[in-house]
Amino acid sequence: MDTVPAEGLIAASWLLIALPLAGAAVLLLGGRRTDRWGHLLGTATVAAAFVLGLSCTLALDGRQVDVDLFTFVATGSLDVQAGLLFDPLSAVFVLLITGVGALIHVYSIGYMAHDPRRRRFFAYLNLFVAAMLLLVLGDNFVALYVGWEGVGLASYLLIAFWHERPSAATAAKKAFIMNRVGDVGLALAIFLMFAQLGTVSYEGVFGSIEAVAGGTVTAIGLLLLLGACGKSGQFPLQAWLPDAMEGPTPVSALIHAATMVTAGVYLIARSAPIYDQTPTARAVVLAVGAITLMIGAIVGCAQDDIKKVLAYSTVSQIGYMFLAVGLGPAGYVAGLAHLLTHGFFKAGLFLGAGSVMHAMNDSVDMRRFGGLASRMKTTFVTFGLGYLALIGFPFLSGFYTKDAIIEAAFDRGDGWGYVLGGLAILAAGLTAFYMTRLMLMTFFGRPRWEDGVHPHESPTVMTAPMIVLSVGSVLAGFLLVVVFPLEEWLSPVFGEPEGAEHVVAPILVSILVTLVMLLGAAAAWLVVGRREVPVVAPARVSPVVRAARRALYADTVNESLFMRPGQWLTRALVFVDNRGVDGAVNGLAATLGGSSSRLGRTQTGFVRSYALGMLGGAVIVAGALLAVTAG
């Protein structure tokens, strides 16, 4: 990794983080005084960061620029510098975060217009953007870790934004805890790097990772993966992400679809030099990606909550990305391209869902939707474009990027390549199924609205970002793959693209994927489009559906494996501490007190017994003296 010191505009890239951070500080500390213009300030800081990020990116010219700021912690042989690394990879993320972020800020102005705590909402959003930018811009693993937990905090605050609802508060806590489990992995990976190499900077670690023993590198890779799984909602830490939908919908769009949950993909892509040394860890990444891909797709098919469907879709799509980056050099660019296009269409879909909820008095039950296409034309069209992009309709975004991942999987050439490719195609079919089901249940058919619901189109401030994102959903794939190939842009990071030998002809893959996709869509039409959707979910369903409705029992497993034993252990320990440890101490005190009062009984008060005692004592003393002098 050859970095150059920063000069010119890029030297000011710390402003990218400072701007939203300042926004958050002003809004949080300013109190009610900032209520009137707080949302505008919040949006402005992110928009300004976008402009700055864009300028920096244009000035980058394929270099990897290191921005040194100050000494964060230096003691002994540990030296952690607060520094930023602005390179093509982080630039891509900066643009995604600030771009989509700015749009979602604009949307939130409308969405949160009637919430008395809108100012605080924007403060938290700004805090999130700052932490996320630190995550992708830091030039060492500690800075990444700081950003990593920072986004976790922002996510916690935003999921619990409506904290009066116990479910929201619980979901927020669950998200934080499960993320912390992942964070332990990331932290241990950092400790291991320091123990082995004496440094935690990207440059230092990647420069000498080859000298580290294979087993240790694998351990580092697996620990990093644990961190990535926590943040990105991947198996086995996926259960928090769907619950996180308790937060306001813009949050779901920005944090739990477009940006934060893709941080795991960023981590693995960034740590490519480490994974290059360890095929074992890479294989585990692949496995995690494939498993999560299927879990998300299967569970998504059975959910009735529009946001939960989208959440499981996100889980599944990030599974695609993990699968891609697990493939190694062949897949990094494909995975990141899918990450970018996914950022567009999934954010758009969430915003559309928010718009629908806005119209339906905040109901999320798709069984009570239906026939909204005519009432909400803009939402319908933008949502529809996002939908087509997601299921991989030919020549829209998802088509380009998802096919690239599937091709890369087949390109492995071995049996596993076919298994993974096959799974990815199957998941594409399932994606088409659940998304078509969602479209049909929401926008088509007979209205099944609850009483008193009068759907209406959302205000322009909300629809405008949706329109921009839907344009992005349509064009992003074409732009990133054909016009401005991401592969070339990222070549300073991942090396020059090699003309891969295709095992299966790309055109064949595309045709196959498209066919499976159409099949999935048709199946959805057969299930929900052709006949009336019952307002109450049917209770008599196959075990598979029941399992999918309960998210394949992920929560049940977590509860019976960790939560209940943990609660039992806690109660037992409290008992042990109070009765055992403290009891021993108090018991000792009681024993001392008791024996002292028992000894006191010998003081009878009778002068005679005292006199006898004195006499006895005198006799003993005299006897002892005699014995000493005589002996």
Binding site: G600, G605, R608
Partner: protein, 99 residues
């Protein structure tokens, strides 16, 4: 009369006093027995002073007599006041000073 006779007498007196203190109940008698013990010691002191030809023991005996006199004053006063409140001079009845 050799030294031994004096000392044996002192020892007998001391033993009578000690046994008296231990077995008698009447406070006055106990008190007298204490005096008996003190005086047996005095006898010993004087005996040794005579034998050694010094006056140290005699001086010590005077000290003991002074202390004994003071003790008699205080002790009898206590016994008197106990007798007045309890109508008894038995040491077994005055056992309140305990645990």
């Amino acid at each position: 009369m050799s030294l031994t006779h004096y000392l044996v007498l002192a020892a007998i007196l001391f033993t009578i006093g000690a046994v008296g203190v231990l077995v008698r109940r009447n406070a006055i008698v106990v008190f007298m027995c204490v005096e008996l013990m003190l005086n047996s010691v005095n006898l010993t002191l004087v005996t040794f002073a005579r034998a050694n030809g010094t006056v140290d023991g005699q001086i010590m005996a005077f000290f003991v007599m002074v202390v004994a006199a003071a003790e008699v004053v205080v002790g009898l006063a206590i016994i008197m006041s106990i007798y007045r409140t309890r109508r008894s001079a038995s040491v077994d009845d005055a056992n309140l000073l305990k645990y």
